[in-house]
Symmetry: C2
Subunit: 446 residues, 2 copies
C-alpha cells in the first residue's frame, strides 16, 4: 500500500553515512509516521534500524506499523533482541497483535519475556482471539471512567489516560467490575457544565459487540452508526477492548479485495499484487485452475458421449454455455456481495431463489430472441433452429439458480460464500448446460 | 442496509393511533438515530412523518439520513413543503447533498427558497462538485480556529462551534483568508497547558486533498494516515470542507460492491439486492448479457467456419476455452483490485504484463499436463493428442495477457477498469481461443 518514495531516499542515505543524528531525528520525528515509513521504506534493514534509532522508542513504535507487513516481519527478524522488547511494549496493542500473528509462534514465545508483564497478559489475550472475530480487530487501549465523578474531573483524568489510549474521543463508563454502564464522547464532556455528573451526561443505550462476534457484523454495526470506535465486551458484559474506525476501514478494504479475488477463483494474495512472489501467485491461482480443469474435464467427457455432431450444433456450444455461465456469474456475485454487506441474510433464501428464477426467465427470454435469429442462419430448418432459443432459456434459468443457490448453500454450511467463485459456477453450468443442450437437440431434431 | 425491525412496529402504530406524542417523543429522542430509523422504517409515509413530528426538527434531521436513500426520496416527495425547508436546513451538509442529488433538479430549485440564504450557498457549492471527487464526499461543517489564541480560549470557542460541526475532534487552523495553516486535535488541546498558543501546538504538515481529487485517492489517503477526517482545500489552498471517516467507510463499502458487480457484468444496482425492482435488475443485467451474447455470437460464427469436426476435438472445445477464460478472469480481477486499492499504478504496466506473461507460461504448463493425459484418452494417436496441451498453453497465456491488458487499457483511456468485466474478458478469450485451437489442430493433424 505504502509506496517507497524515491525523492528523500538519497538524502536519508547521506545522513546515515555521515551519522547525522540530528537530521535523522528531524525527519523521523516531525513528519506524520505514515510519511516517515513511506520515505524510508527503500532503505535496507540495517539502515532503517539506524534511522529509527535516532528517535525515542515511543516514536519508533508509532512509525513501525506503517511499514507493509512483510517488511515489518523482515525488520523484526533482522533486529537485535534488545531493540525488540521496548518496541513491542510501546506498539499499539492492535498493531502489535497484527505483527505477532505473522511471526513464528516459537519466536514469539522467545521474545515475550522481553516485554513487561502487564503487556504480556494483553498480548496473550489478543492472540487467543480468532482473527476474523471482534477480538481479532480490537485494541485493549481505551479510555474509561467511573460514573460518579463530574465532567470537570473526567477531563482531568482523561489527561492522564490519553497517552495510553488509542482514542480518547469516546470514553466508556464502567462499574467496579468493569461492566459497561454507558458512554460519553469528549464532545459531550467539553459541552457539559464542569460540575455535571458523568452518570447524568452519559448515554446508557450503548451499542456494543461481543468478543466472538464475526468481523462482518462488527463492520456493519460501526458503519451503520457512524462510530469512531465500538466497545467490545466479554460474555459477562465486561469491557475488554475497543475497535476503532481506522482498523474497520482497513478490514473492509482488505475483505473487499479478498472477496473479489475469491470470486475470481484466486486464493487471496494477502499482500500487494506487485509484491507477491511469482511462485506463491502460481500456487494461489494454479490450485483453483486445476480444480476448474477437473470440472472442465467432466464437460469434455460428457460432450464426447453426446450425439451432437451436426457442425451447426457444434458451432453453438460455446454460445449456449457462455449464456448460462454469464447469468450464473451475475447471480453469484450479487448474492455474495449482498450477504457480505448484510443486504440479505441466509434466511431470505426462498425470496432470493424466487427472484432469481423470475430473472432467469426474463433474461433467458431476452437472449432467446437473438439466439433464434442466429440459429436461423445456420440451422437446416426453422424448426431445427428452435433448439437454440429453448436451450438458451433453460441454461440461463439454470445459471441464475445455480449462481444464487451455491453461495447460499455454502453460507448455510458455515463456509465463505465467496468460495463459490464465478468460474466454479460457470463450470458447473457448463456440464449441466451440455446435458440440456444434447437433450433439447435430441427432442427437437428427432 | 437498515433492515426494518418488526418488534417495535406494532407498538409504534398503537402510539400513532392514540396520538401518544410523549411516547413517540421518547422513542424518537432517546435511541440512536440509526436505531430509530431502523425501527420506524416499516411505517407508511404519513405515519412516519407523524412520528418525526413528535421531535424537534434538529432531531428529525439526525434521524432522516439513516433511512435508505430511496425511502428518503419517497418521504420528501410525500412531505408538506413547510416540513421540508427546516429539515433540509438542519440536515448535515453531506447527507443533505446526497439526498438533493437524488431529487429532480427542478424540484430542488423549487424547494431551495425555503432554506436560509447562507445554507443555500453551501448547498449549491456542494451540488456543483462531481460526485466521485473529494467535493462529492465532503461536508462544509467543520471546526476552525485562528492561530493566535491560547488552548484555553480555543476550547471555549469550540463549545460554541460544536453544534454546527460534524466533528470537533480535528480542528483546522486558518488565516484571515481561510488558508489552511495547520491542525490541532481536541486531544492536543486538552493535553496542552491552557496558556499555550494554538500556533505552538498545531501541526503544520497538514495532509489535505484538493476539491477535485478523485474519490479513490481520498480513500487511500485517509486510510493510510488513519485520520478521523481529512481537510479539503480549493486551488488557492483555502479550506472548503472536511471528509469524515464514516463517509469514507460508506464510500469504500459502496465502491467495493459496485466494483464486484461491474466485474461480474452487472451495472451497479445502487441499492440493496432485495430492494431492487425486478424490472431494473433485468435491465442492469440484460444490457450486459446482450453485449456478451454479441461476442458469443462471433464465437459461434468463427466456429461454424472452423474445420474442427472430429468428435474428439469437439469434445474439448469447452475445456480449452474455459482454461483461457478462467486464467483471464483471475488476471483481470487481480489487476482491477490492485488498481483500485492503489497497490499498482497505470505506469506499472510493463511490469504487470511481464508478470502475467510469466504466470501464463507457468499456469499453462501446469494445465497442459493433465490436458495431454486427457487428450490421450480420446485422441486417435499420441501425436494427435498434442493439440490439447499446445492449445491450453497458448490460451492460458492469451487469457493472462488479455485479462491484465484490457483493464490497463481502460484505465489509460480514463475509463473504469472494472468495466472490463470477467465475462467480457472470457468472451474475447473464447473467440481468439477458438481461432488458436483451429490453427493448432490444423498444424498438428495435417
Amino acid at each position: 500500500m505504502v509506496v517507497a518514495n524515491p525523492i528523500l531516499l538519497p538524502e536519508l542515505r547521506v545522513m546515515l553515512a555521515e551519522g547525522d543524528a540530528a537530521g535523522l531525528r528531524e525527519v523521523a520525528a516531525e513528519l506524520h509516521p505514515a510519511t516517515v515509513a513511506e520515505f524510508s521504506e527503500g532503505l535496507d534493514d540495517r539502515e532503517l534500524w539506524q534511522m529509527l534509532d535516532a528517535v525515542p522508542v515511543e516514536r519508533q513504535a508509532e512509525i513501525f506499523p506503517y511499514y507493509p507487513m512483510p517488511r515489518q516481519v523482515e525488520l523484526v527478524m533482522a533486529a537485535d533482541r534488545q531493540h525488540l522488547g521496548p518496541l513491542i511494549e510501546w506498539m499499539a496493542a492492535d498493531n502489535r497483535d497484527d505483527l505477532l500473528r505473522e511471526l513464528d509462534p516459537d519466536f514469539v514465545e522467545e521474545i515475550l519475556p522481553l516485554v513487561a508483564k502487564a503487556e504480556r497478559h494483553d498480548i496473550r489475550m489478543l492472540l487467543s482471539c480468532p482473527e476474523d472475530s471482534a477480538g481479532g480487530l480490537m485494541t485493549t487501549e481505551y479510555a474509561s471512567l467511573p460514573a460518579d465523578i463530574t465532567a470537570g474531573e473526567a477531563v482531568t483524568r482523561l489527561r492522564s489516560q490519553a497517552p495510553d489510549s488509542e482514542s480518547i474521543y469516546y470514553i466508556y463508563v464502567l462499574d467496579a467490575d468493569r461492566k459497561l454502564l454507558g458512554f460519553v464522547s469528549l464532545r459531550d464532556l467539553i459541552l457539559a457544565r464542569p460540575t455535571a455528573l458523568v452518570s447524568d451526561i452519559m448515554q446508557r443505550d450503548v451499542i456494543r459487540v461481543r468478543l466472538d462476534e464475526p468481523r462482518e457484523e462488527v463492520v456493519q454495526k460501526l458503519a451503520r452508526f457512524d462510530f469512531i470506535a465500538i466497545p467490545v465486551v466479554d460474555d459477562r458484559d465486561r469491557l475488554v477492548g475497543i475497535i476503532t474506525h481506522d482498523d474497520v476501514l482497513d478490514a473492509v478494504r482488505q475483505d473487499a479485495t479478498d472477496d473479489a479475488q475469491r470470486i475470481a477463483a484466486v486464493s487471496p494474495l494477502g499482500e500487494s499484487y506487485l509484491d507477491a512472489a511469482i511462485v506463491s501467485m502460481t500456487w494461489k491461482r494454479g490450485v483453483w485452475l486445476t480444480i476448474l480443469f477437473g470440472t472442465a474435464a467432466v464437460t469434455a467427457m460428457v460432450l464426447a458421449r453426446s450425439p451432437i455432431s451436426h457442425p451447426w450444433l457444434v458451432a453453438f456450444i460455446p454460445l449456449v454455455i457462455a449464456s448460462g455461465g454469464n447469468s450464473g456469474n451475475q447471480s453469484a456475485t450479487l448474492v455474495i456481495t449482498a450477504l457480505s454487506t448484510g443486504d440479505c441474510k441466509l434466511s431470505d433464501w426462498p425470496r432470493i431463489l424466487k427472484r432469481e428464477f423470475a430473472l432467469g426467465l426474463l433474461l433467458g427470454a431476452l437472449l432467446a430472441v437473438p439466439g433464434y435469429l442466429l440459429g436461423l442462419v445456420y440451422a437446416p430448418s426453422p424448426i431445427d433452429a428452435l433448439v437454440i432459443p429453448f436451450t438458451i432459456l433453460s441454461v440461463v434459468i439454470l445459471g441464475t439458480l445455480v449462481g444464487s443457490g451455491l453461495p447460499l448453500l455454502f453460507r448455510s454450511l458455515g463456509l465463505d460464500p465467496a468460495l463459490m467463485s464465478n468460474p466454479f459456477v460457470s463450470s458447473i453450468v457448463d456440464i449441466v448446460g451440455i446435458v440440456l443442450y444434447t437433450a433439447i437437440a435430441v427432442l427437437v431434431l428427432e
